[in-house]
């Protein structure tokens, strides 16, 4: 079976090479059948990689340890769901997932545009197959998932316990979908430039895929943040870690692109800017894929220093150089049709929004690559920490939120005093009201947070105003009841209303971030049962200790779980019962009779009480010194007594626990971050949803009649 998988990978590489040749030949000679054959090579690639992926997935599910990858990343003790997802916890498996997703999304795009943009699609096909060839090449020559072990071991290493969480398993496929989908607008931009057809057609056809890419990447990033908060023992959701930043950068430029294309469509402006943005986004997506697995930057996500560094760097350099060359050589085609009339106009706000987003991307880029930059400049590797990032991203984020409120209500071309007054009054009032309402609650001491809250209120006010006015306008155009008018309003322009929903979601998210980072209360305490500690007005009592063997309540396959039961109350009223714990996973037999069961990795199970206004977060660390002493004593016993000794340790811990270290965090409005994320996702879905056919045809008919009428009259 590994032979089948490997053969399919080799065939995939051949298919890519053929497809590139056929598409380019079809493009140069205008012979459609060769371009179509090239497109089908993408379908063939998808099929071949599906077979390959299927073979690998099956091997993991069956725990076939003759596959080297399965032996190093899974075990018979790994729970079923995580066995299936362990495929992409390895370098080879994750590359195969990336290539497979690329092939699937490319097939979808090329199928849905098979009859359109026939000048452009062959070049785009060749570009997409170029990406495919690179990744298949890596899979065939450098990181084969189908490497077979001479003698299959009886047991595998097991999936890293830190990854045994549903969010962590969905996070890579989401991120990779985002990355691979961003190659689509990249490929079509390259195609449009190569074919010298840079009108709005290519943007219109591929905008949906850029939005889908943005959507998946955004969800992937948010899932990573959620996992970090609810699973890791540090209680935060964003650390400005290089790998986190690597996924954020293409998302930022992608957001900028989604906005600036609207200007190109409406006014034919910013053509060079747009095409540069989409090319940069594609390059950053590959850069992000590379950073995770390269080991060139110190990160908590160390996929390991690998041999793939050089090919990736060469590929990225080629993509960047090629993009620049293309744009420069076609610059005569990218002349702007119109110019900016006034700085107080929607066009100017869009441009400013783009500058802020690109500025944010630059800050993140600089900070992330600073160790390499400083090494090149001063010979000394130095790094900047979260305080530096926060100093620059916070003001930029404030501007972004404010702009997302101003944009929808400011006029096109030139805002006059009259329409400014009319459009800005209500939102400004909302902002002012919010600021005044929050003054007595000690928020004034933190001006940045206060600004964020006021700006978010501005956004809510402006979008609310748009909704009311839009419904009123619809009722004037086609007398409908209020609910129907609202529904029709959204259905007629899903992109706009999806976008407005996303803005509201982002405002909510930023409010959550501002509140939870500015007004957090943290407390570290070492407690024995029946002791109480006070955090931010909450009384936390350590009720008792717990010890379980092979009875992990979260189903991650931990061999021993030591925890605590905490009672949280406020002013005598019971708020929550929290059960933080620590899970211990198997190591290897050399660690002793007892040690082999629990001296592998350890993870924290966080005790979390999430609420609309406040989250209460707690993690426990049982005394490690005590545990090591007890394990050492247990290791003196014969191997057969291991299980019994383990049970005895757990019981001893539950009855007479040594002091345990607790970290308690009370932070306000954390839930608003996830809530905001969900609103953004909902808005994204609305914007992505294909427009209804029926309504289109009905209106089309009547409009067509009108236009035809004028035709007759003219």
């Amino acid at each position: 079976m590994p032979v089948l998988g490997r053969a399919c990978l080799i065939l995939a590489l051949v298919a890519c090479a053929y497809g590139i040749g056929a598409s380019l030949y079809g493009a140069r000679t205008g012979r459609r059948e060769w371009a179509d054959s090239g497109r089908r090579a993408v379908y063939a690639l998808a099929g071949l990689l599906t077979v390959s992926f299927g073979v690998l997935e099956l091997a993991f599910l069956r725990s076939d340890f003759s596959f080297a990858t399965v032996a190093t990343h899974s075990s018979t003790t790994t729970p079923g769901f995580y066995k299936g997802a362990a495929v992409w916890s390895s370098q080879e498996g994750s590359l195969l997932l990336w290539a497979w997703l690329l092939a699937m999304w490319s097939s979808l795009v090329l199928f849905s545009t098979r009859r359109r943009m026939r000048d452009i699609t062959p070049y785009a096909t060749a570009m997409l197959l170029g990406f495919g060839a690179f990744f298949c090449g890596l899979l065939v020559f450098a990181a084969s998932p189908f490497h077979v072990l001479a003698s299959a071991p009886a047991e595998g290493n097991g999936l890293n316990p830190l990854l045994r969480h549903p969010s962590m398993m969905i996070h890579p496929p989401m991120l990779y979908s985002g990355y691979t989908l961003f190659t689509v607008p990249f490929a079509f931009a390259v195609g449009a430039l190569a074919a010298r057809r840079v009108d709005a057609e290519w943007i219109r056809s591929t905008r949906r895929f850029a939005l889908a890419a943005w959507f998946f990447l955004g969800i992937g990033i948010l899932l990573g943040a959620r996992w970090s908060y609810s699973e890791l023992g540090w209680g935060g959701y964003w650390a400005w870690d290089p790998v986190e930043n690597a996924s954020l950068m293409p998302w930022l430029t992608g957001t900028a692109f989604l906005h600036s294309v609207m200007i190109q469509e409406k006014r034919g402006m910013l053509k060079v800017w747009n095409v540069s943005l989409v090319l940069a986004t594609g390059v950053l997506a590959i850069l992000g894929t590379f950073l995770v697995r390269s080991g060139i930057l110190d990160s908590i996500h160390a996929f390991g220093a690998s041999t793939l560094g050089k090919p990736f760097v060469a590929f990225i350099a080629l993509l960047a150089a090629g993009s620049i060359a293309l744009v420069v050589s076609r610059r005569d085609l990218l002349r702007t049709e119109n110019r900016l009339d006034s700085l107080l106009s929607r066009e100017a706000m869009f441009l400013l929004n783009n500058l802020v987003l690109v500025g944010l991307c630059f800050v993140v880029f600089w900070g992330t690559f600073f160790p390499l930059i400083s090494e090149a400049v001063t010979g000394q590797k130095a790094s900047v920490g979260p305080p530096w990032f926060d100093r620059y991203t916070v003001p930029l984020a404030l501007m972004l939120v404010l702009l997302s409120g101003i944009g929808p209500v400011i006029a096109w071309r030139r805002a006059t005093a009259a329409n400014t007054r009319r459009n800005f009054l209500f939102p400004s009032a909302c902002a002012a009201l919010c600021a005044v309402a929050l003054l007595p609650v000690h928020v004034a001491q933190k001006p940045l947070a206060l600004c964020m809250f006021a700006f978010a209120a501005f956004v809510a006010g402006s979008i609310g105003q748009e909704l009311v006015r839009g419904v009123r306008a619809r009722r004037a155009m086609a007398s409908e009841s209020v609910p129907l008018a609202a529904v029709q309003l959204v259905r007629r322009n899903r992109r706009r209303w999806g976008g407005y929903t996303i803005h509201v979601g982002m405002a909510v998210l930023f409010v959550g971030v501002a509140a939870s980072s500015t007004f957090q209360h943290t407390r570290d305490a070492s407690l024995v049962p029946r002791q109480t500690v006070r955090v931010d007005g909450y009384d936390v009592r350590y009720v008792k200790a717990t010890g379980r063997v092979a009875d992990d309540p979260d189903g991650t396959g931990a061999f021993m779980t030591l925890g605590a039961v905490l009672d949280v109350s406020k002013g005598g009223r019971h708020v929550a019962t929290l059960r933080p714990a620590r899970n211990y996973y198997p190591g290897d037999p050399s660690q002793g009779t007892v040690g082999q069961y629990i001296m592998g990795d350890a993870t924290s199970e966080v005790g979390l009480k999430a609420g609309a206004t406040r989250d209460f977060w707690v993690a426990v660390q049982p005394d490690a010194g005590w545990l090591m002493k007890v394990v050492a004593k247990g290791n003196d016993l014969p191997p057969s007594a291991g299980g019994l000794a383990l049970a005895a340790i757990a019981q001893r811990y539950a009855e007479r626990p040594p002091p345990a270290d607790f970290r308690l965090i009370a932070s306000p409005l954390v839930t608003w971050i996830w809530l905001g994320g969900m609103i953004v996702a909902a808005g994204g879905l609305v914007a992505l949803w294909p427009a209804p056919d029926l309504a289109r045809r009905r209106v089309t008919a009547s409009l067509r009649a009108r236009v035809a009428q004028e035709l007759g009259r003219a």
């Binding site: 996929f303 900016l340 790094s383 920490g385 924290s604 970290r663």
Partner: protein, 133 residues
């Protein structure tokens, strides 16, 4: 003022502002950064009071007392080891043989770790790290 001139002025102002902001950013990054050093580099020369990013592997035999952790950081491939006294969150993957990054300051003969600055890298997925310590 004719439109073309207005546009040129706008462009110049915008570019100047961008260059100034970028300059401020770049300047502060150099002054706000902490140099990354390996244990042998740190032992070769460290100024008291200056903070450094220490990267290396955790040497076996670390001690936890309450919420203070005393451990030694060893060169990736070498024997120089630096003692660190650290208070704050200890990440889950922390154990002997794992790679860590911690911000430290020299204090007397040893180093004190900055609170909550300890980062442990996820174990490498491409070596047989599970079979080692």
């Amino acid at each position: 003022m004719d439109p073309a001139r207005k546009r040129t002025i706008r462009l110049t102002v915008a570019l100047t502002a961008a260059v100034l902001l970028a300059g401020a950013l770049i300047y502060t990054s150099f002054s706000a950064s902490s140099p990354a050093k390996t244990p042998s580099q740190l032992m070769a020369g460290a100024e008291a009071g200056r903070s450094y990013q220490l990267t290396g592997k955790v040497a076996p035999g670390y001690v936890r007392r309450g919420n203070t952790l005393d451990f030694r950081v060893r060169d990736r491939s070498g024997r120089a080891a630096v003692p660190v006294r650290y208070t704050g969150t200890v990440p889950d993957p922390f154990r002997a043989g794992r790679e860590v990054i911690v911000t430290v300051r020299k204090q007397g003969a040893g180093f004190v770790g900055e609170r909550d600055s300890l980062v442990t890298k996820c174990p490498s997925k491409f070596t047989d790290s599970k079979r080692s310590t």
